[in-house]
């Protein structure tokens, strides 16, 4: 079974996000693995453990630091790592999906995992676009995958806590909401060992598309509103809250 996981490196929000022109000032932020991709790596490794095969992680290297995340994925159980030397931190998801699909084409993938979305652009398009470019079915919002033969049973989540089981034939693209088990921990000793020994295959970006969108302006949100701490006994506080809600027409 050839399992492929598309992963994305995004600016960390542990720090302020400095804006420079129409985009984030990429030089002064740290990059981290998109948290949904931690889930999809885990789900992919679980599938491999269940039915055998190889897990290949592939990502677009946007700032020349993708190796660290690829090493982490290898330490968590992936077998091969491929990076597309994009070197354009502002490449939009249409462009990235095109590059990824071109890189994945030669991998004869049976199942391709992507996170449901990345928390930088919240676009949620990579999975569906990959499926379109590769001419495969797509199922997103998935919280478990069980492969048997040339089909898979996946659990898809809907709003309001509703879930549904689907049987999907392979090959397919899966958008992972959550892995069936929490992502495993990769000990630093293992990550370091992987970093010293692993080889990462480099692929040049190929294909040109555009979302047709142009960024006009990027600015940090303006801070508005304020918080008021209500003092007094719990009864007084409750009474004031009720009063406040009424005055705002909310109760």
């Amino acid at each position: 079974m050839n399992i492929v996981v598309a992963i994305k490196h995004i600016p960390s929000i542990a720090d302020d996000l400095p804006v420079s022109g129409n985009t984030v000032d990429f030089d002064s932020v740290d990059f981290v693995l998109n948290e949904f991709d931690e889930q999809s790596i885990e789900q992919a490794v679980l599938v491999k453990e269940a039915v055998g095969g190889t897990v290949t992680v592939v990502g677009v290297d946007m700032i020349g630091e993708l190796d660290a995340v690829l090493h982490l994925a290898l330490a968590k159980g992936a077998d091969k790592a491929v990076k597309i030397t994009g070197d354009d931190p502002a490449a939009d998801s249409h462009t990235q999906a095109k590059w990824l699909s071109e890189a994945i084409k030669g991998m004869s993938a049976d199942i391709i995992f992507a996170g449901v979305q990345a928390s930088n652009d919240l676009d949620g398009q990579i999975g569906p676009m990959l499926a379109a470019y590769l001419d495969m079915p797509y199922i997103g919002g998935v919280s478990s995958v069980e492969v048997a033969g040339d089909s898979a049973t996946v659990n898809k989540e809907f709003a309001g806590g509703v879930g549904a089981k689907y049987e999907v034939s392979l090959p397919m693209v899966v958008g992972v909401q959550a892995s069936v088990k929490p992502p495993r921990y990769a000990p630093v000793s293992k990550v370091r060992q992987v970093a010293q020994t692993a080889t990462i295959e480099k692929v040049a970006p190929s294909g040109e598309v555009s979302s047709g969108l142009t960024m006009k302006k990027m600015a940090p949100p303006v801070v508005t509103g304020h918080a008021e701490m209500i003092e007094g006994s719990s009864k007084e506080v409750a009474a004031k809250i009720v009063e406040l809600l009424k005055s705002k027409g909310l109760a």
Binding site: S12, D15, S28, D30, Y185, K190, V191
Partner: protein, 426 residues
């Protein structure tokens, strides 16, 4: 190598003659198989076979340790019990019990057989981590943050010295200073980033300035000591941080390092020598106690408080410093120092050691109360209105604990903050 066990076989004799006298009778028989004869000793050996965890097998069940184990006070714990659990079927590397020990070393102090949880726990945890066993989620997060950002809080490295602004006095960065200093002050992660930790860091900066100490900090080059991560089982992470830290420390010329936290003291003084770093390191309390004569005239404002002092495990039991913090507190005019029942060598752990700092919700599921809450109640029972601490983990832990136990009237303050208050007035 751990001692090997045979499976216990119950001895049951119908007739027994001792010195020619027949002593057969129901009383010398086992009425039924003893529980432990149902089990093989494999699960004890499994732990004792891990390098550094050998002493687990030494236990002869005397139970001295249970009486002093802080976790037993809020649960069912202690080396004796862990041994017994292992004897009756618990695989420590897979049990929640693996994560509850704070490596406080109180059991080691009393154990006649030198069963050493401070070595056993990190070794068993490391094994569990390497084998891909369960690791509490919050702890994983702290590990990942440390590896990624250089501190367990996950704060950006480039903001490590942002706290300086709140000090109101010069805090030189050694790189910018470009010369040798007497004191390299290692600030630590919590004093650099945690809002209450920053208060202590700013206080220390003002005290060092007032004493005219020639000091500097590492600023953005400083990274976490990772000692608690090591004790929580992430030795690889500890070694990575150690390599980086030693390289940074050795880049500069300084005579002595002063650390804000006992965990850093433990790392740099007791563990780093194994990695080739052997330079003088002291805790701030030990350092400032040397300056008592110069410090006293600076402590001009009376602090009319009844203060009880909590001995941090890694300052007290692990590093033998009990008196310097008390001397500093007694030097403050107006202070009445009272002791909690469990003090000095028998100090009660705050629950933050050995990775406990990052497992609060996990631990809460397996204990009746947080250790910090138990301790906050003990502090309040002395009638003190200030709980003085000397470890950056403790300010936040106890501040939460006094609130959750209804003891908000007890202020939690680092000794540094109390000295600073007395220096400057409120």
């Amino acid at each position: 190598m751990a001692q090997k066990y045979e499976k216990a076989i119950a001895i049951e004799k119908d007739n027994i003659v001792v010195d020619g006298i027949d002593v057969s009778g129901h009383w010398n028989r086992m009425f039924e198989q003893r529980v432990i004869t149902e089990y093989t000793p494999e699960l004890i050996e499994k732990i004792a076979d891990i390098p550094n965890a050998e002493s687990f097998a030494n236990c002869y069940q005397c139970a001295k340790c249970v009486a002093v184990c802080p976790v037993d006070v809020v649960g069912n714990y202690g080396p004796r019990k862990l041994y017994r659990y292992a004897q009756t079927g618990m695989d420590l590397t897979e049990a929640p019990e693996l994560w509850l020990c704070t490596t406080c070393a109180n059991c080691l102090r009393v154990c006649p057989k030198e069963v050493n949880m401070v070595k056993i726990m990190p070794a068993a945890r490391e094994q569990a981590i390497l084998d891909g066993k369960f690791v509490p989620n919050e702890l994983q997060q702290a590990f990942e943050n440390t590896a990624k950002s250089g501190n367990p809080l996950g704060q950006p490295q480039r903001k490590r010295d942002a706290w300086i602004q709140s000090a109101g006095v010069p805090v030189p960065i050694i790189k910018d200073l470009g010369r040798k200093v007497n004191v390299l002050w290692y600030v630590g992660s919590y004093p650099s980033y945690h809002p209450r930790g920053i208060d202590a860091a700013a206080a220390a900066a003002r005290i060092f300035n007032a004493l005219g100490i020639d000091f500097a900090i590492l600023g953005k080059e400083e990274k976490d000591d990772a000692d608690s991560q090591r004790l929580a089982g992430e030795k690889g992470l500890f070694e990575m941080m150690t390599e980086q830290n030693i390289e940074t420390f050795n880049k500069y010329e300084w005579d002595e390092m002063v650390v804000t936290g006992p965990h850093e003291l433990n790392a740099f003084k007791n563990v780093y020598p194994k990695y080739g770093f052997e330079r003088p390191v002291v805790h701030y309390s030990t350092f400032l106690a040397r300056y008592l004569d110069q410090l006293k005239p600076l402590l001009q404002h009376s602090v009319e408080k009844k203060i009880t002092y909590h001995d941090p495990c890694y300052l007290g039991r692990h590093n033998g410093e009990y008196e310097a913090p008390r001397k500093l507190l007694e030097a403050i005019p107006g202070v009445e120092l009272v002791e909690m029942q469990r003090n000095r060598e028998n100090g009660y752990c705050c629950g933050g050691g050995g990775g406990g700092m990052w497992m609060d919700s996990f631990t809460a599921k397996h204990t009746t109360m947080r250790l910090s809450e138990k301790r906050a109640m003990e502090a309040a029972s002395t009638g003190a209105n200030v709980l003085a601490v000397a470890c950056p983990f403790e300010v936040s832990r106890f501040t939460d604990a006094v609130k959750s136990t209804g003891n908000e009237h007890v202020d939690v303050l680092d000794i540094l903050e109390l000295l600073d208050k007395s220096m400057r007035g409120e």
